[in-house]
């Protein structure tokens, strides 16, 4: 039972390459209509991220090859929720994204995770970027892509934990406005919607978290990992992308800060955490 280990211990990261069709799905994605993206830049940034995860943080990296048929498959975070030894394969909101789960399912099975399928139970949809796992509980943002039923399936899958639903305002996704910045730290954006979400989280939780507020929405999505060397790593958006927020990250004591660019994925509504699934295969038992 990897139950209740402090958040942040990971051994593996699963990523999926950026296909040349990157951004092409944008046409039917009403969120980001005409955005023009730079594929090469996106791939470079992807490379930087994976490099940081592997070399700086020291994770084992598993990269699923890009699939041009699945233009959004780089957002691998959406298709699985992994906690402890269990991986919940989700059911993304968009029909055309559901094919993305296959490759991921295969990988998590190979990692010896217990695979749970969300399937089409009662029209459940859930995407990983609406799920915040804090190490002690889950928050599921009910958004345009994630519904109540999806959250229920998640609760049934991870029975040890409280699963609370919270609002996500303004078409955003939960992970776009907040992320974990440490075992007990939530990084959250300063926007009105985010504050509202945070209030709800505060009301629902039994636990105490530190809250690090950042002025820019984009900055709120970070990746925190306690590496094998027991160091605290924080991947965050660089100063060029979030000039106002960098100083906030400096407040984190004894962290190794890894500014990681993500501007292209960001144009499509993605962010740092969208690009990877983190897994801990060294589960500690009591």
């Amino acid at each position: 039972m990897a139950n209740m280990c402090p958040y942040g211990r990971f051994t593996h990261a699963v990523v999926r390459g950026v296909p040349e069709t990157f951004g092409k799905a944008a046409g039917d994605d009403c969120e980001k209509g005409e955005t023009s993206v730079d594929l090469a830049k996106a791939q470079r940034q992807f490379g930087c991220l994976t490099g940081a995860l592997r070399q700086k943080v020291g994770l084992q990296l598993i990269e699923i090859p890009a699939d041009p048929e699945l233009p959004e498959s780089w957002r691998i975070e959406d298709v699985a929720v992994i906690q402890g030894d269990t991986a919940l394969i989700t059911r993304p909101f968009k029909q055309q994204r559901r094919g993305e789960v296959e490759a991921v399912r295969k990988v998590v099975s190979e990692l010896n995770l217990t695979v749970v399928e969300m399937g089409d139970s009662g029209g459940a949809t859930l995407e990983g970027c609406d799920v915040l796992f804090t190490g002690r509980e889950f928050f599921v943002g009910i958004s345009s892509h994630t519904n109540h039923r999806g959250a229920e399936v998640l609760a049934d899958t991870f029975k040890d934990f409280a699963v609370s639903t919270v609002p996500v305002c303004g078409g955003a996704r939960l992970r776009n406005i907040c992320s974990m910045g440490g075992p007990q730290t939530i990084i959250i954006s300063n926007s009105e919607g985010a504050k509202k979400t945070l209030r709800m989280m505060e009301q629902l939780t039994d636990h105490h978290y530190e809250v690090l507020t950042v002025p820019e929405d984009l900055a709120a999505n970070c990746i925190y990992i306690k590496g094998p060397s027991k160091l605290d790593f924080l991947l965050h958006r660089p100063a060029e992308e979030c000039p106002e927020s960098v100083s906030a990250f400096q407040k984190l004591q004894d962290y190794t800060l890894l500014p990681t660019a993500c501007s292209e994925a960001s144009k499509l509504g993605g962010s740092l955490s969208s690009l990877c699934l983190l897994v801990n295969r060294k589960l500690t038992y009591f």
Binding site: M1, A2, N3, M4, G84, D85, T86, T114, R136, E137, V140, H148, A151, E152, A155, D156, F158, K159, D160, F161, A162, V163, S164, T165, V166, P167, K196, R199, M200, Q203, L204, T205, D206, L283, Y285, F286
Partner: protein, 952 residues
């Protein structure tokens, strides 16, 4: 199979008779005593001899047995039929108790035995000392589990059917490692194993394996294939749906635990189990205001709301001001959050009345057990509205303290192979605990809600006053007063029908000081926003509702199923008025002002000086209203003396004399107080004198929490625990009430004190402002009315009876103590108290209240409650004060009346000058509503007492 009189017990009885022959007399006396007050079925543990904790009472009850006719079915019974001459026949009942290990424990009890007798016997049988976490359940006709009330007779709690019980964990300790004894943890483990296997405590596969493996280690010891066989694991149950795979994993883990003792395994088991999100959560089916099926989960930290498996809301105990139920509705009143201005009440529909009551009780008990330092005293109402039920056992804090005293060698825990968890299982295999399958009758429920709304309109008017609420809760003296004053409050009638069934409980507790944000105090703005929120906001999203505690769904009219006499009275007494905070003196101005001065608590713990002064106030007093008097007296005494030094007594005295000789004020002396005051008062007085300077400093500097409620702008100050009341614009002048052995002297002193206060540097300014009308002599008897000051203590005649020399006008001074489970109960103090309290493991807080009331001449007998036009509550906060304004408009007899109640909570310690803050608040209020008059003052002060001084 209600088998009455078990054979074996009878066999034992002759022997017991002998043993307990001596006790018989005692027992009878006790029984007689119990019989003497059949009307008060509430728990009154004090009624039972100390021996109640042991098995003695049970035995003595048994010994009285005359075996019931019905029951001699066995020859043994005939043999054992001990001819106890003259003793009444007593039925003996056979009780079968399902223990946690799956075995049954059978014993015989007298039919009239109370719950604790059975409980104690079981604990004795189990060799369990830390028993406060446990309880007995029995199933009702709907197969719902109900907790046996230890203070009530068993037979009243088992309507029908055999006397079958189960011994269960009632309060799941959040941190089992803090339990003192392994044996306690062992039983907790057994309970949790059952919770897991039955599905009440859901967990993942991985958790099942871990918990299972520790359970195996605890029960069977080290893995040993030769001894255990290869299939040993299949004989045990770990999960609702146990698979071979699970068993293999359990076995795998089990192999790794070699050398682990059972106790260690149990600790590991508990460390894992306690982290599960549903650990210790008692679930109840309900529907929300929109008819959506939800579950309410009661746990150590508060109330959780689930929809399906998802947590959709959570109300920590500090957030909850009041819990109540009415018919099949269950209500919680929520403290306004950081960003909210209004208290709101949320209602849930339970499947039926019993379910609502059961939920309410569980909430009361959990709140008391986990949040309070000591249980609340039982309400002692004359006109009992609502249940008298309170949790009467020890709280977790008390339990921990008690168990730290356990001084015995760790008992040998017999870890019998738990039958329950073998394949045969399972007693309550139903998944997810308390399920009420009864479909809800929505239509009926809705109707009920409406009626409720109507009936409670008036209640709503006044319910917002915390101080008052608290007061009402405290009952006693104030109740007396209230009753005398308002013998026939129509409101009571309104609610009467439900009264018995519905109850409430306020959960004021020390909540961690919520961040006090400065909110705008602009009343019109407040009002506007209130109106906005108040008109049920259709635009609210589900989230907003959740965040705002869905006020929209719980119109105020719905709330407060419970009516407290005092509140009622207030409503009536309050004259009509205009807007917000102003109370208009209506043309008729016949009403008498009502002063309600709540004077709470005394000085504090941390300070030597202050404590010495307060020594006299026995901590035990807190728990007992009777004692309260002494405390007050002494303190006052002391204060008076103290103050006297500083004030030139001359003028003051004169005023007092005048007041007295004027014959407008009558001082009533309470004899009871005398002795004690004599004895202790002097000491304290002396101490106070000596240490006066220190005291003065302390008052502001110490960890004092002062909570002052001002209702309708009444200027009032507190100096060193002296409450000063000055009548302002109100037709009546302020009065100081005093209790003393020597009327004159004391009175003088008292007055001196209060007068002095005005001289006091800090509050001076404001005081003067406020007093502008009353002039220099602050203590002046009301011109037009005869004022009688009476101090009523519990057991005393309601002051109003005594006091009023003239029939038409009465001034009642009621003194009461709040048996303050300290921080937690102090309705007003909640936020505040914890600040100071946190570090101290056990904090004793004393809360005292003095009520000054002058009844309204006209309205006094007025039965007509009027028609409520509107009611609203506004809350604003500054850094150190929270002001809640409750405005109600009623029309009665063609006269419209606006009543504004302001509750100002001043929180803080060293850096806050309470007087200053209060004065400031009053001043502001006055400026805002120059044309209102003050009719009531409640000063409520809460302070801590050092543990050494306090004992429960």
């Amino acid at each position: 199979m209600t088998t009455e009189s078990g054979a074996d017990s009878e066999a034992k009885q002759p022997r017991e008779n002998k043993e307990t022959e001596k006790e018989k007399g005692k027992a009878k006396a006790a029984a007689a005593a119990a019989a003497a007050e059949p009307a008060s079925p509430q728990n009154q543990p004090e009624q039972f001899p100390a021996a109640a904790g042991h098995s003695t009472p049970a035995r003595k009850e048994q010994e009285q047995q005359e075996v019931d006719q019905v029951s001699h079915r066995s020859s043994i019974s005939r043999l054992s039929r001990s001819p106890l001459k003259g003793v009444k026949k007593t039925k003996i009942m056979e009780c079968k108790v399902a223990l946690l290990d799956g075995s049954d424990f059978t014993l015989n009890l007298e039919k009239r035995a109370r719950g604790h007798v059975l409980f104690d016997k079981i604990c004795e049988h189990l060799n369990l000392l830390e028993k406060d976490y446990f309880g007995i359940t029995c199933r009702d006709v709907e197969n719902q589990k109900n907790w046996i009330d230890p203070g009530k007779e068993l037979k009243k709690q088992i309507r029908t059917g055999p006397w079958n019980f189960a011994f269960n964990v009632k309060f799941y300790p959040p941190d089992p490692a803090q339990l003192t004894e392994d044996i306690t943890r062992y039983y907790l483990c057994l309970q949790l194993r059952d919770d897991v296997v039955s599905g009440r405590l859901p967990c993942s596969f991985a958790t099942h394996t871990v918990l299972g493996s520790y359970a195996v280690q605890s029960e069977l010891g080290d893995y040993d294939p030769e001894e255990l066989g290869s299939d040993y694991i299949s004989e045990l149950r770990f999960a609702p749906n146990q698979t071979k795979e699970l068993e293999e994993k359990v076995m795998e883990l089990h192999k790794t635990y070699k050398g682990m003792t059972p106790a260690e395994a149990e600790i590991h088991f508990l460390e894992n189990a306690k982290k599960l999100s549903m650990y210790g959560v008692d679930l109840h089916h309900a529907k929300d205001s929109e008819g959506v099926e939800i579950m309410l989960g009661v746990c150590s930290s508060g109330l959780l709301i689930y929809r399906d498996r998802l947590r959709i809301n959570r109300f920590a105990w500090p957030k909850i001001l009041k819990i109540s139920y009415k018919r099949n509705n269950f209500y919680i009143k929520i403290r306004p959050g950081e960003f909210e201005q209004f208290e709101s009440t949320i209602g849930f529909k339970l499947p039926n009345h019993r379910a609502a009551k059961r939920l309410w009780k569980v909430c009361v008990e959990h709140h008391t057990f986990f949040r309070l330092v000591s249980p609340e005293s039982q309400p002692k109402k004359f006109l009992s509205l609502g249940s008298k039920f309170r949790y009467s056992g020890r709280t977790q804090a008390q339990s921990r303290r008690a168990s730290s005293m356990i001084n015995r060698l760790a008992p040998l825990v017999e870890r019998s192979s738990s039958k329950r968890y073998n394949m045969s299982l399972s007693l309550d295999g139903a998944p997810i605990a308390e399920n009420h399958e009864t479909p809800m009758k929505d239509s009926a429920a809705a109707g009920a809600a409406k009626i409720l709304t109507k009936g409670d309109l008036i209640t709503t008017v006044t319910t917002e006053k915390k101080a008052e609420e608290e007061k009402a809760e405290q009952e006693d003296a104030p109740t007396d007063a209230a009753e005398t004053q308002e013998p026939t409050t129509p409101l009571r009638h309104d609610t009467k029908s439900d009264a018995d069934d519905d109850s409430e409980m306020r959960t004021q507790d020390t909540s961690p000081p919520e961040e006090m944000l400065k909110h705008q105090t602009n009343i019109s703005e407040l009002k506007r926003s209130f109106l906005e929120t108040g008109e049920s906001s259709p635009g609210l999203t589900e989230w907003e509702k959740r965040l705002s505690s869905s006020p929209a769904h719980s119109p105020r009219g719905d709330e407060a199923p419970m009516i407290e006499p005092l509140e009622l009275q207030d409503t009536k007494d309050e004259p009509p008025a205009s807007e917000e905070t102003k109370e208009e003196v209506e043309p008729k101005t016949t009403k008498a002002a009502e002063y309600l001065v709540k004077y709470v608590g005394d000085s504090v713990a941390t300070d030597l000086a202050s404590s010495s002064g307060l020594h006299g106030i026995s901590p035990s007093t807190t728990m007992d209203d009777d004692v309260f008097m002494d405390g007050t007296l002494r303190e006052v005494d002391e204060v008076a003396e103290r103050e006297e030094i500083k004030v030139s007594p001359g003028a003051v005295r004169q005023e007092v004399y005048q007041a007295i000789s004027d014959k407008k004020g009558t001082l009533i002396i309470l004899k009871e107080a005398d002795d004690k005051v004599d004895a202790e008062g002097k000491e304290t007085g002396a101490a106070g004198e000596e240490e006066e300077p220190a005291l003065r400093g302390e008052a502001e500097g110490g960890e004092n929490e002062a909570v002052m409620g001002v209702e309708i702008w009444s200027p009032k100050m507190e100096a060193n625990g002296v409450t000063q009341i000055k009548g302002t614009d109100s037709p009546k002048k302020a009065m100081a009430s005093w209790i003393s052995e020597v009327v004159k002297t004391e009175a003088t002193e008292v007055v001196g004190a209060s007068t002095k206060a005005s001289d006091a540097p800090q509050p001076g300014e404001e005081v003067q402002t406020e007093q502008s009308k009353s002039g220099p002599s602050q203590i002046t008897p009301p011109e037009s009315s005869t004022t009688s000051l009476a101090v009523s203590t519990l057991g005393w005649v309601p002051s109003s009876e005594k006091g009023p020399p003239e029939p038409e006008e009465k001034v009642v001074v009621a003194t009461e103590t709040e048996a303050a489970p300290a921080e937690s109960t102090g309705p007003t103090g909640c936020d505040v108290v914890e600040v100071g309290t946190k570090e101290v493991p056990v904090v004793h807080t004393e809360t005292k209240t003095i009520t000054y009331e002058s009844a309204e001449v006209e309205t006094n007998g007025d039965v007509d409650p009027g028609v409520l036009l509107s009611a609203q509550t506004i809350t604003s906060e500054t850094t150190s004060t929270t002001t809640t304004t409750h405005i109600t408009k009623t029309v009665k007899g063609g006269i419209s009346e606006t009543r504004i109640e302001k509750r100002i909570v001043i929180t803080g310690d060293t850096d806050i000058d309470h007087d200053q803050a209060l004065a400031q608040a009053i001043k502001e209020a006055k400026e805002q509503h120059p044309d209102m008059s003050v009719t009531k003052v409640v000063v409520h002060k809460e302070t801590e007492i050092t543990p050494e001084e306090g004992e429960d």
